[in-house]
């Protein structure tokens, strides 16, 4: 470790203009680089979709019709080149971008996927992809198998993992699918079966076929986790190409040891590997990043943020630095996912209505979002656009770079959401385990173990489960490790 300070770069790739900032050790912006929205219209829709007024959640078809990458080649490189001093030393870049998951509504962008459910004989009643729109299912569905394995609520095996059937399934998939999704019953309690199945599939199919497991998604439902894993797998090729392109562009300027992270829909970082395997985690990332940045710029972790961009204004909130839990799951064209919804009001510029009417919509959005946040302050972020900003909203310094700043200062986090038995332990033991699992997850995601904060544990009674257990949900968050700073601390 040379003792050179780590250079932190936050990159906001839109929608709209692309901005990057260089942030110093004292969290101040040292340099800024902005490129106008791409004239080819690759980072924003050429003609914004018609439906006016607030929509919740944002329409997932925002960026439909783009090429393989949702970000034009060379954009990251140009932004980083505008910031980096010569011979920069260690560099960390965090990218906030509309991910390939924003393309979900379009079956044409989805790859064919092999679907492996581990849960026989318990789960054969509702086969995988049940209830999907025909065009989506037709585009995605490759070989499907339900094999023996999976776990009960208490973590015990339903059946031993049927490795023979997995091998047969892998051979059926060979040459026919771009990726494979694996979901086990209660796989989030014990990832063992999913990991073993993934290893087997990987051994048969080789490294160029991504195998996406469902266990990183919390929640109780198998179908939601399975659907999410299937869509992740269907986008994995694109997501992998995107992260690889970012990594290459960064490495070409900052060297192969430069760290790269992407932003997720909760306003925290994802490693490129996780982002490539689980692109659905990127849903809503730009707006979540702006909120995180605005919260840090204004110094209040609970607030309502008016995120103004070229395609209108998004109104969203933060509660104690975290995206508020709405308790509901995202749906894409009727397919339930294991990704939570985010209460965001999108006010689009509308020439048909007057400025006053737009302002009314904004005020309504602030009310709606802020209702769950008490008397939260309202902060503006981004460049002023066609949608008017209420005069009472605060505009923190550097508000126009809030998204890039949010990326540069982003933290790692992990959320645990699962059942804990307390028949053979106490509730306190379950809480301890949940907190530790959340903390481990955050550390694994890159947080500095010494600075991880574990949030409040939320408990939900599970009256319908025939044993004493509790569903606990807890999030741990912490700033990223700075390897260059800790070498001399000892």
């Amino acid at each position: 470790m040379s003792g050179t300070r780590l250079l932190r770069i936050g990159i906001d790739l839109g929608p709209g203009a692309a901005t990057a900032v260089l942030v110093g050790a004292d969290d101040r912006i040292l340099a800024r680089c902005t490129l106008p929205a791409d004239p080819a219209g690759l980072t924003e829709p050429r003609d914004p979709p018609a439906p006016p007024g607030p929509s919740d959640p944002p329409a997932p078809t925002d960026l439909a019709g783009t090429t393989d990458l949702t970000v034009p080649a060379g954009l990251v490189r140009r932004l980083v080149a505008g910031l980096l001093p010569p011979d920069p030393g260690p560099v960390r870049a965090v990218v906030s971008c509309p991910g390939p998951a924003d393309l979900l509504g379009d079956p044409a962008v989805l790859d064919r996927v092999g679907v492996l459910r581990i849960g026989a004989p318990a789960t054969t009643g509702v086969p995988p992809l049940t209830g999907w729109p025909d065009d989506l299912a037709d585009a995605v569905c490759g070989p499907v198998a339900v094999v023996g394995g999976g776990y009960l609520h208490d973590g015990s095996e339903i059946a031993p993992l049927d490795t023979g059937a997995i091998g047969a399934f892998a051979r059926r998939c060979a040459g026919r699918v771009a990726a494979v999704a694996v979901a086990a019953v209660s796989g989030h309690l014990d990832p063992g079966h999913e990991q073993r199945a993934a290893a087997l599939l990987g051994a048969v199919l080789g490294p160029q076929v991504p195998v996406v497991t469902a266990h990183p998604y919390g929640g109780v439902g198998l179908l939601e986790r399975e659907n999410t894993a299937v869509l992740d797998a269907a986008l994995a090729r694109r997501a992998g190409a995107l992260t690889a392109a970012f990594a290459d562009e960064l490495a070409s300027l900052a060297g192969p040891d430069a760290e790269l992270f992407l932003m997720d829909g909760g306003g925290h970082v994802l490693s490129p590997d996780v982002a490539a395997a689980h692109p659905l985690l990127l849903l809503g990332a730009p707006h979540a990043t702006t909120r995180a940045g605005a919260a840090r710029l204004s110094g209040s972790p609970t607030l309502v943020v008016l995120d103004t961009r070229a395609d209108g204004m998004r109104i969203g909130g933060l509660d104690g630095g975290l995206v508020p839990d709405t308790g509901t799951f995202r749906e894409v064209r009727g397919v339930r996912l294991a990704v939570r919804t985010d209460r965001v009001v999108h006010v689009r510029p509308d020439a048909a209505v007057g400025r006053a009417a737009l302002l009314e919509r904004v005020r309504a959005g602030i009310l709606r979002v802020g209702a769950a946040l008490g008397d939260a302050p309202v902060a503006v972020a981004g460049t002023p656009g066609a949608v008017p900003v209420p005069p009472e909203a605060e505009r923190p310094a550097e508000a126009e770079s809030a998204a890039a700043y949010g990326a540069a200062t982003a933290e790692a986090s992990a959320t645990v959401d699962r059942l804990f038995r307390f028949a053979d332990g106490s509730l306190a033991e379950g809480v301890r385990l949940a907190r530790r699992a959340a903390r481990d997850g955050a550390v694994r995601a890159g947080a500095d173990p010494r600075r991880v904060r574990v949030g409040a544990v939320r408990e939900m009674a599970m009256t319908y489960v025939p044993m004493p257990c509790v569903r606990l949900r807890v999030t741990a968050t912490g700033p990223l490790v700075d390897p260059s700073a800790t070498g001399e601390a000892w």
Binding site: M1, R436, D440, V443, R444, P449, P483
Partner: protein, 538 residues
């Protein structure tokens, strides 16, 4: 890297962990290590003190699972100096290794690992290097309580105690025993300078990669130059360990000194006893006392049978052949060339004899036996001379004679042969004197005091004019070669004209006439009898 800190890199270099591999985080190998502890679980890492090295068994940490990443990150957060774990069945993911690199947390794998024993083996080195040093010192002291049996065992034992290769070299840095690679380090200029200092002292020299070479003199006489040097190459010489290692080497050196001194003393004692016994045997005539015979038999001497005696001495003007190491060496070489027994010291040299069965039972004649003895002796002398510049040896071989009285006469002949050989040109001169040989007559002449005084008188003018003996050498060569100036010039390596000029001068200086046959033969004998060292280099 300060000398007193223990790092994981240095711990690994001790060789206590056989077959280890550093999978990642090599950048952290030079961080100070405070302790080595077995790890109970991945989460236990956080409770460890900064600077700990944590050792995991396969149950506590599987490196091919995501838990390894967590362990590395927790270790980085807790300031852990390294993780030792068992090599997993599957390959460790590249991402894990790169994470170790990025966080500079050394990740070391072993094929088999027992955390408690690894920690127990390493911990003393870390917590209290001085205790580890005392352990080394104690081990050495114990192993060298008895003088080392020989140089080979000395270097082996010391290498084990110190944990690094050791070599023993002689005063001129020639390899004696141990690890030849360590000897090569003696050629470094700084080491060479230290070894050639007037007063030998122990020294330490860095030889790169954090390695050091330690040298320790072995001195029989504390005021004289070192007889040998002990050298050790060590990789983990930390400040606290350096002193005990030095002292260990000093103990080993002392032990070897005791060995060398004891060997020399016992050789000398045995030699004196043998020489007394031989004198007694020769004095007692044909009926030696039973006690003497018994002693001779105990020494392996054969008194019956046919004896061929050999006497060996240092050439006049050469380095002296004293009792001790060169004689022991000569003894060994002779034995290697088939000579049967040890050398016995006599007033004017060293003797031994080869004994064959009484005549008739030996297929080869006495001449063949004598020739074999001569070849063996010559080769032995040559090999000893080659190792010791400045030492010139000569030997005489007596005729083959029967019985104790035969031995006596053979010894006498050998003595005279030796005298004769001392007058010869060339290295390792060996003369065989038989009862009937002409040489025997010459020996009589040479040893006659009358001739010697005549010789001195005749040749004095030449020696006064040329103290280097060049004129005498030329004259002798000329007379030896039937007065051929051409042959003499070739033998001496000078031009014929030079020989002619010298002869002119010699004729002027000599008080006698070289053309007179009587004078000429006296002068010829005088040149041979005069103890001039015939070799130019002398």
């Amino acid at each position: 890297m300060s000398g007193s800190t223990v790092t994981l890199g240095r711990l690994l270099a001790t060789g206590l962990l056989r077959g280890h591999e550093v999978l990642g985080g090599a950048g952290g190998l030079d961080r100070a290590v405070r302790m080595v502890v077995p790890g109970g679980s991945v989460h236990a890492i956080e409770d460890l003190a900064p600077g700990s090295v944590v050792v995991f068994g396969p149950e506590q940490l599987a490196l091919d699972l995501p838990g390894a990443d967590l362990a590395l990150r927790l270790a980085h957060g807790a300031g852990i100096a390294g993780i030792l774990a068992q090599r997993p069945g599957a390959a460790v993911p590249l991402a894990t290794r790169r994470l170790a690199d990025r966080l500079a947390v050394p990740l070391v794998v072993l094929d088999e690992i027992a955390p408690a024993s690894v920690a127990a083996a390493f911990d003393p080195y870390v917590r209290a290097p001085e205790i580890a040093g005392l352990r080394i010192l104690g081990t050495t002291a114990q192993r060298f309580q008895a003088p080392s049996a020989d140089a080979g065992r000395l270097t082996r034992t010391l290498a084990q105690a110190l944990g690094g290769p050791v070599a023993l070299v002689d005063a001129e840095s020639r390899f004696v025993a141990g690890e030849p690679a360590v000897r090569d380090l003696m050629d470094r200029p700084d080491v060479r300078m230290h070894l050639s200092a007037a007063r030998p002292t122990a020294g330490t020299f860095g030889v790169g990669d954090g390695d050091a070479v330690l040298v320790q003199p072995v001195q029989l006489d504390p005021d004289a130059p070192a007889n040998f040097w002990l050298a050790a190459r060590l990789q983990t010489v930390t400040g606290a360990l350096l002193e005990p290692i030095r002292q260990s080497m000093a103990i080993a050196a002392l032990s070897y000194t005791a060995y060398v001194a004891r060997t020399a003393a016992s050789l000398e004692r045995a030699g004196r006893r043998r020489s007394l016994l031989l004198g007694e045997l020769l004095d007692q005539g044909d009926t030696p006392s039973p006690r003497a015979v018994e002693q001779a038999t105990a020494l392996g001497w054969r008194l019956a049978g046919r004896h061929t005696a050999v006497q060996i001495a240092a050439r006049p003007g050469s380095a002296e052949l004293r009792s001790g190491e060169p004689v022991a060496d000569l003894d060994e070489r002779l034995a290697a060339h088939g000579m049967p027994m040890g050398l016995v010291e006599r007033p004017d040299g060293w003797v031994l004899w080869a004994t064959t069965e009484p005549s008739g039972t030996v297929p080869e004649g006495p001449d063949r036996a004598a020739a074999a003895v001569r070849d063996a002796v010559r080769e032995a002398l040559l090999s000893v001379e080659a190792d010791r510049p400045g030492l010139r040896l000569c030997a005489g071989i007596g005729g083959t004679r029967e019985g104790l009285s035969g031995l006596r006469s053979s010894l006498e002949e050998a003595r005279r042969g030796c005298l004769l050989a001392g007058t010869e040109d060339g290295p390792a001169a060996v003369e065989h004197v038989d009862g009937v040989s002409m040489k025997r007559m010459l020996v009589g002449w040479y040893s006659s005091p009358a001739l010697r005084s005549v010789a001195a008188e005749v040749l004095t003018p030449l020696l006064e004019a040329d103290p280097h003996g060049e004129l005498v050498r030329t004259l002798r060569g000329y007379l030896d070669r039937e007065s051929s100036a051409t042959d003499t010039a070739a033998a001496l390596g000078v031009h014929r004209n030079t020989v002619m000029q010298r002869l002119e001068r010699i004729r002027d200086l000599l008080p006698v006439d070289l053309d007179d046959p009587d004078d000429r033969i006296v002068v010829h004998l005088a040149t041979r009898a005069l103890g001039v060292a015939w070799d130019r280099s002398d």
